[in-house]
Symmetry: C2
Subunit: 387 residues, 2 copies
Amino acid sequence: MRDVAIIGVGLNPKWGELWDKSLRTLFAEAALAAIEDAGVDHVDSMYVGCMTSGLFAGQEHLGSLMADYLGQPGLPATRVESACASGGAAVRSAFYEVASGASDIVLAGGVEKMTDVGGDGATYALSTAADADYEVYHGVTFPALYAMMAVDHMNRFGTTSEDLANVAVKNHNHGSMNPAAQYPFEVTVEQVLGSVMVADPLHILDCSPITDGAAAVVLCSMDKAKELAGDRPLVKIAGVGAATDTIALHQRPDLSWLGSTEKAAKTAFEMAGVGPDDIDFAEVHDCFTIAEIMVIEALGFVERGKGGAAARDGLTALGGKIPVNTSGGLKSKGHPVGATGAAQIVEGVTQLRGEAGDRQVEGARRGITQNMGGTGGSSVVHVLEVV
Amino acid sequence: MRDVAIIGVGLNPKWGELWDKSLRTLFAEAALAAIEDAGVDHVDSMYVGCMTSGLFAGQEHLGSLMADYLGQPGLPATRVESACASGGAAVRSAFYEVASGASDIVLAGGVEKMTDVGGDGATYALSTAADADYEVYHGVTFPALYAMMAVDHMNRFGTTSEDLANVAVKNHNHGSMNPAAQYPFEVTVEQVLGSVMVADPLHILDCSPITDGAAAVVLCSMDKAKELAGDRPLVKIAGVGAATDTIALHQRPDLSWLGSTEKAAKTAFEMAGVGPDDIDFAEVHDCFTIAEIMVIEALGFVERGKGGAAARDGLTALGGKIPVNTSGGLKSKGHPVGATGAAQIVEGVTQLRGEAGDRQVEGARRGITQNMGGTGGSSVVHVLEVV
């Protein structure tokens, strides 16, 4: 298998309710930024991660659409979906195409246009990441599912609402240093606990927002990347892992353990030949504050049941032992569901290049990204490192 | 890049309006058939091709769902979409995962459950393969788009309604020998021309049906496949090609030339080191009769403008120079949109193993499959051959 580098990254200048940008313009903007950043004059193939543009925008066939709107009709282009892990899954598919030797330069990104939705609305569109027949039919929504996971974690490990709130406080603090963030304001524990309850114990400030946005990266065979790199630090995809779990939460033996994340991380760590102690920072899937707590346990950064204390104790803040979600995470940066996984890798590369400005992790040499679909029905993990 | 074989194929026993089979049971049935046919006790990863289960069934996140319902929660599983070329695109992604060396045995399939659709119905769901903003918004549907392509072909090349009808006659004849076909009855030219007009010049018997169905194949590294093959002929994926075109028909300089098919075939032929004259049979995307005519031109089996005569003259019938759609094609076998590309490969392998019964192409050693999204906004081509 060939080594694969990331030679370009791109994001919309700002995520949020972007009324003047459509599905296709969102993706094209991020993709062109990544191509410009890479300094290449072509790509050989592309992958588009998107969760449910059919329901959000009445548009499937995104490979054709996006190649077309990048001015490249003809280019092989494939859409990849794994609910909110679609962006990570798109990068993984692109990785294999480059690693196989079939293509040298491949664009991979993700996009979601969530605010134009008609019909049954965003909550219904997002619910299609859960089990339509055995969860959604009975009225369950994602805030409710994560609330059940949170209650389980609280009952078993003593995790508190303050612990959850501290994740939001930390990520909004990080996001205040990210010009692209949808909600780049700071919040306090009191504000989180005083915000409206969505699904007990999750307040609205425990939840990631509805966001329009896109992100893209350019993958390249390592040999070619070395020719193109110039003086810039070269970032390698050292490990790739993906795994699934039961799609329905009620089928799992343990409601607050993310088996798909554990398995995907194991695969990625083994491929990279490293473990949690070798990681300098992490971008993880904090769709709800409880998710970040469960994820850092499944990734092995803290022991089972100790995730609640991490944000409170400063372990996962900038300057802490393992900074988590320096971008602001889904919570502050925003969560255009199909784009999130690709955006995590954009942040990872930005950190490893030392280009993260005020939110730079000093001396960052190796990072991890963890992108998750549904209640953890799927996870995709990438280990990135400076060559 | 490693060589990749197909060691197992599976299909539902019968395609059609399958009221007793849901999205998940359709896929699981085909996947288990493929795994049993392969004789393996596990797969390392899987890909699910599906066009728009969000709109048809209120269900995305098919990787997680299908791994779960195959009793394999944990397995890396990714859904791939390229409109009606989703099945072919899923096999292509699986090919790269095996070719890269990351996995040895990968399941790839496709599925669509089309008959349970609520909301705006199947015509709307299918329209999401076209350009939502510049085609669908103005009321265009797929029969209308292909009708415009047919009119262009007729005006420029003298193709007649009888030429179109002969494609239906041939494919229904082939389908009458396929136990899995949704409509395994014969039709006559008179019946086609006398059937209700859907979009002039396309009668309803020029159109493929709405179908529930799934198909799956098991890919394997060639080295391992040789260990597993026993006495059975071993089928190699000799060539893989994918390409796109403008998603909107009106953006193309030529309304009846399938540029994405031409480009995808060129890539696949070059990889396999063969050309159209080296192919013994083809499974192509006859979503409408005019599509088969355009496809055999783009694949180079006949000259531009000569596609209309092919079925009439017996060139593409069983026993002809290049039998096309021995399975019955989308027209007779049915067209569960996300499954079709995988099912074409099932037929290709069945022919190359000499297991096609009454519809066997004598001495078949090499075949081609061509799967298409929208009006040719994307195409995926595979060249298959006996090792």
